[in-house]
Amino acid sequence: EPEVTQTPSHQVTQMGQEVILRCVPISNHLYFYWYRQILGQKVEFLVSFYNNEISEKSEIFDDQFSVERPDGSNFTLKIRSTKLEDSAMYFCASTRLGGTDTQYFGPGTRLTVL
């Protein structure tokens, strides 16, 4: 069964460094999402992406964040200058039909900012 994959599974970085989290959505899906989950808290929506542009974004998704679909398969989340509070699990998700459809999540990348 097709699945969303994410790399790396765990990323450790120093405060102020840039990180890029990578995702490969399910191949025939058209809508892509990033979410984050701070330890012990609920999953929070960051951004959605459709037709090669950002469709929706939350208040969390400020100028430090950016997303890109550099080729036909990858979907990336970049954090330009990491802060301690960016430490969280980051999940990528995809759907074929958007908001009316099941969102399939990847296994997540655990980001630790020191």
């Binding site: 999953v43 959605s48 469709s55 009316t100 399939y104 990847g106």
Partner: protein
């Protein structure tokens, strides 16, 4: 209360018993989805119920939706130790665009005692 709040926050039952978790939400929705998360792992999609549906079954899972009360319940019958996990409901807004993100609740942590 926040959109997509589950109760109870924690539930401990004996193997073989049924487990019921509830979710309440505030805005009008297109659909509501239930996910399972094992400790530190990714989100596994369980079931999606649309706003015009009242009940849905999948194996040992039964989900109900009451849009007049803005609430949903997830019933797991004949629980097993492997069902130990956190369970989240997530809603997609009715008026949302095609790429709207899901709004998650805080989750119910279910422990099945062998």
């Amino acid at each position: 209360s926040q959109q997509g709040e589950e109760d109870p926050q924690a539930l401990s039952i004996q193997e073989g018993e049924n487990a019921t978790m509830n979710c309440s939400y505030k805005t009008s929705i297109n659909n509501l989805q239930w996910y399972r998360q094992n400790s530190g792992r990714g989100l596994v999609h369980l079931i999606l119920i649309r706003s015009n549906e009242r009940e849905k079954h999948s194996g040992r899972l039964r989900v109900t939706l009451d849009t007049s009360k803005k609430s949903s319940s997830l019933l797991i019958t004949a629980s097993r130790a492997a069902d130990t996990a956190s369970y989240f409901c997530a809603t997609a807004r009715l008026a949302g665009g095609g790429a709207d993100g899901l709004t998650f609740g805080k989750g119910t942590h279910l422990i099945i005692q062998p």
